[in-house]
C-alpha cells in the first residue's frame, strides 16, 4: 500500500468536490482537515468528498469527516462522502456513520431563504441588509480620562467598575476584577459584548482572559477609561468579499453601514472571518506604579516597551469579534476617544477586536447573542487589540481586512455624562 495523500479540488456550480487519493490515517488526516478548512474559508457551503481512491481510513480520518460534517451543517450547508472505496465504506459503516456521511440525512437549510431588505454589490463585494427592530436605539456613555494614556499616568482616581449585561457593549482599557488594587498589574484592552467580557492582560502572561454571563453572574471590568453603549441594533448587514476574491477593508464595511444612517453617530458590533487585523495592544499597565509619567508612551523608542504593534496584519486566519463607535460630530466627552480609523482619515471612531480560532459563520440572518456566545464557548480566544489604520504610504499595513462577516449596527441617539448611568 502506498503512503501519502493527494487532494484534487473540483469547483462545481453549487458545490466543491475534493477528490482524495491515498491514506486517511492519523498522520494524513490533518492534511485533509486543512484542505477542508481552506474550502470553508472560501465561503463554500456544500462540500463533497470523493473517497473512491482513498484506500485506508482509521479513526483519525473518521474524526475529520465527522468534524467537517458538523461544521458544514452548523452553517446551514451540506457535507457528504461520495463513492467511498470498499475499505473506507467498511470502516464508516463499522463506526455507524454511513447514514449521515453518505448524505442520506439532508440538513435543513433555513438561513439563505430569508428575504433581504437591501442587496448591494460594490466592486465585487456583496452587502445584504436586514431590518431588525425599527425603533431600536443605543445610548452611549464615555468615561475616564484617555488623555492620561500618553504619560501612563492612570491611578485609582480615574477607574470605575463597569457592569456588563447582555444589552451592553463596551470597550476601553481595563481588567477583569473589581477595584484598582486588584487590577493594577493587568490593565489592558478590553471588549465586552452580549454578556461576554474579554481582556488582554499586561502582566506578561499574554493569555487573554474572559468572563461569560451565567445565571446571576454578570461580568465586571474595572476600567481606566471606556465607551459603553446600551440598547438595541436597528440593522444587520452581511458582507462577503469572496465574489471578487479580494478581502474587504474595514472602511468599506463602515461606509456601507454609514450609508444607512447618514450623519449619525453609530454603534456597531461585528463578527467577521478575518483576513488580517491591524492593531496594537499595551504590553505594560499604563499606571503610575509601572514607570508612567516619566516618559511618553507613544514616543520612540519608548513605544516599543509599551506597545505591541506589528506593521503586518495579525490573526489572518481567525474569527474576529469587533465592537465600537463611529461619529463625525461626537459630543465633547466622546471626542477625545475617537481617532481616524481608516487610512484616508475620513472616518473617526474607536474599535477593539477579539480574535478567536477560525470557524465559518452561517449565512443569512443570524442572531447576535448565540453567534457571540458560540465564539466564547468553542472558539479559543487568541488575543484582543485596539484597531488602527496605518496611512504611511510605504510599508503601511493599511487597515483590517475581512473575508466576510456580519455587522449589527444602529444609531446612538442619546449620550449620557460620566455622572449618569446607562
Amino acid at each position: 500500500m502506498a503512503s501519502g495523500m493527494e487532494i484534487i479540488k473540483e469547483q462545481r456550480t453549487n458545490e466543491v468536490v475534493l477528490k482524495v487519493s491515498g491514506r486517511l490515517d492519523g498522520y494524513w488526516a490533518n492534511h485533509l482537515a486543512e484542505a477542508i478548512h481552506d474550502v470553508m474559508r472560501e465561503g463554500v457551503h456544500n462540500l463533497r468528498l470523493n473517497l473512491a481512491q482513498t484506500f485506508y481510513v482509521s479513526s483519525g480520518g473518521i474524526r475529520v469527516l465527522v468534524e467537517a460534517y458538523k461544521e458544514f451543517v452548523g452553517v446551514g450547508g451540506t457535507f457528504a462522502v461520495v463513492y467511498p472505496s470498499p475499505g473506507v465504506k467498511q470502516v464508516i459503516d463499522l463506526a455507524g456513520l454511513g447514514p449521515l456521511l453518505y448524505g442520506g440525512v439532508r440538513p435543513e437549510v433555513t438561513a439563505a431563504t430569508e428575504p433581504t431588505v437591501e442587496r448591494t454589490e460594490t466592486e465585487g463585494a456583496v452587502f445584504e441588509t436586514y431590518n431588525l427592530e425599527p425603533s431600536a436605539t443605543l445610548a452611549c456613555r464615555a468615561s475616564g480620562r484617555p488623555g492620561l494614556l500618553p504619560d501612563a499616568a492612570f491611578s485609582g482616581r480615574e477607574c470605575e467598575i463597569l457592569t456588563l449585561p447582555k444589552d451592553v457593549f463596551a470597550l476601553g482599557l481595563g481588567a477583569l476584577g473589581e477595584g484598582f488594587a486588584a487590577c493594577r498589574d493587568r490593565f489592558g484592552e478590553f471588549l465586552a459584548v452580549a454578556g461576554n467580557a474579554a481582556c488582554q492582560p499586561t502582566d506578561g502572561t499574554n493569555f487573554p482572559d474572559y468572563l461569560v454571563a451565567s445565571g446571576t453572574l454578570v461580568p465586571k471590568v474595572t476600567a481606566l477609561y471606556g465607551i459603553a453603549c446600551r440598547g438595541g441594533f436597528r440593522k444587520l448587514m452581511r458582507f462577503d468579499g469572496s465574489p471578487s476574491g479580494v478581502p474587504l477593508p474595514f472602511s468599506a464595511v463602515l461606509a456601507q453601514a454609514r450609508r444607512q444612517f447618514p450623519g449619525t453617530c453609530l454603534g456597531l458590533t461585528l463578527v467577521t472571518e478575518s483576513a488580517g487585523l491591524l492593531g496594537a495592544s499595551l504590553k505594560r499597565p499604563p499606571v503610575a506604579a509601572h514607570g508612567g509619567s516619566a516618559q511618553h508612551v507613544f514616543a520612540h523608542p519608548e513605544i516599543r516597551r509599551w506597545l505591541s504593534f506589528s506593521p503586518e496584519r495579525a490573526f489572518t486566519r481567525s474569527v474576529a469579534l469587533i465592537a465600537g463607535v463611529v461619529s463625525d460630530d461626537p459630543p465633547p466627552n466622546l471626542a477625545p476617544l475617537l481617532r481616524p480609523i481608516t487610512p484616508d482619515g475620513a472616518i473617526k471612531g474607536h474599535f477593539h477586536a477579539a480574535a478567536f480560532g477560525y470557524h465559518p459563520l452561517p449565512k443569512g440572518r443570524i442572531e447576535l447573542l448565540p453567534t457571540i456566545g458560540r465564539l466564547f464557548d468553542t472558539g479559543g480566544l487568541q488575543g484582543i487589540m485596539h484597531l488602527l489604520a496605518d496611512d504611511r504610504p510605504a510599508g503601511g499595513g493599511g487597515e483590517s481586512v475581512f473575508l466576510r462577516g456580519a455587522c449589527w449596527f444602529g444609531p446612538i441617539d442619546r449620550f449620557v455624562s460620566q455622572e449618569e448611568t446607562l
Partner: protein, 150 residues
C-alpha cells in the same frame, strides 16, 4: 529483526512515541504482509488495528522517554496473525473503555472510543496486561477465508 521459530515467523519493530513514526510503521506492516502474502482484507484490518493502538499510545500514553517507547511484534502461524504491542506509557487498558453509542445523534456522539471499537470489530481477540512497567496488548486475527480483495 526476524526469528524463525518453526512454523511461525516472529518479527519486531521498535518505534519512538512520535506521530511521524506512523509512516515507518505502515511501511513495515506492508512489507510483512506482502512477503507473507497476507490477504488484502486482513492486511487492511491489521493496519487499522495497529495504527489505532500505537497512535493512542503516542498521543495519550505520555511515554517518557519517547525514544523506543513502543514495540510491535508480529508472528504468523498458518493463517493466524499474532500481534503484540507494548508501550512504556501510563497504565491504560483500552478494553475498559465503554463501547461507543453508535445510534446517538452525531451532535451528541463523542469521537473518543471509536478507535478501540474498530480494533474490537476487526480483530478476533484482544488481551491486555500491565507487565514490567509496560502496557502489553495481544491481538489475534485468523484470516482464513478472508481472501476477497477490497
Amino acid at each position: 529483526m526476524t526469528l524463525n521459530t518453526g512454523s511461525s515467523m516472529q518479527e519486531h519493530l521498535r518505534l519512538n512515541a512520535d506521530v511521524a513514526e506512523l509512516e515507518r510503521l505502515m511501511a513495515w506492516l506492508d512489507d510483512f504482509c506482502e512477503r507473507h502474502q497476507i490477504p488484502e482484507e486482513a492486511h487492511y484490518h491489521l493496519n487499522i488495528a495497529v495504527e489505532e493502538i500505537v497512535l493512542n499510545a503516542i498521543k495519550h500514553g505520555r511515554c517518557s522517554p519517547a525514544q523506543g517507547a513502543i514495540g510491535i511484534g508480529l508472528s504468523l502461524s498458518g493463517s493466524e496473525l499474532d500481534i503484540t504491542i507494548t508501550d512504556t506509557g501510563i497504565p491504560f487498558n483500552p478494553l475498559d473503555a465503554p463501547p461507543p453509542n453508535l445510534t446517538a445523534s452525531l451532535a451528541d456522539r463523542p469521537i473518543g472510543g471509536l478507535g478501540i471499537h474498530l480494533v474490537r470489530s476487526l480483530m478476533d481477540s484482544i488481551e491486555y496486561k500491565r507487565e514490567g512497567g509496560e502496557n502489553r496488548l495481544r491481538l489475534r486475527k485468523d484470516f482464513a477465508g478472508t481472501t476477497r480483495p477490497l
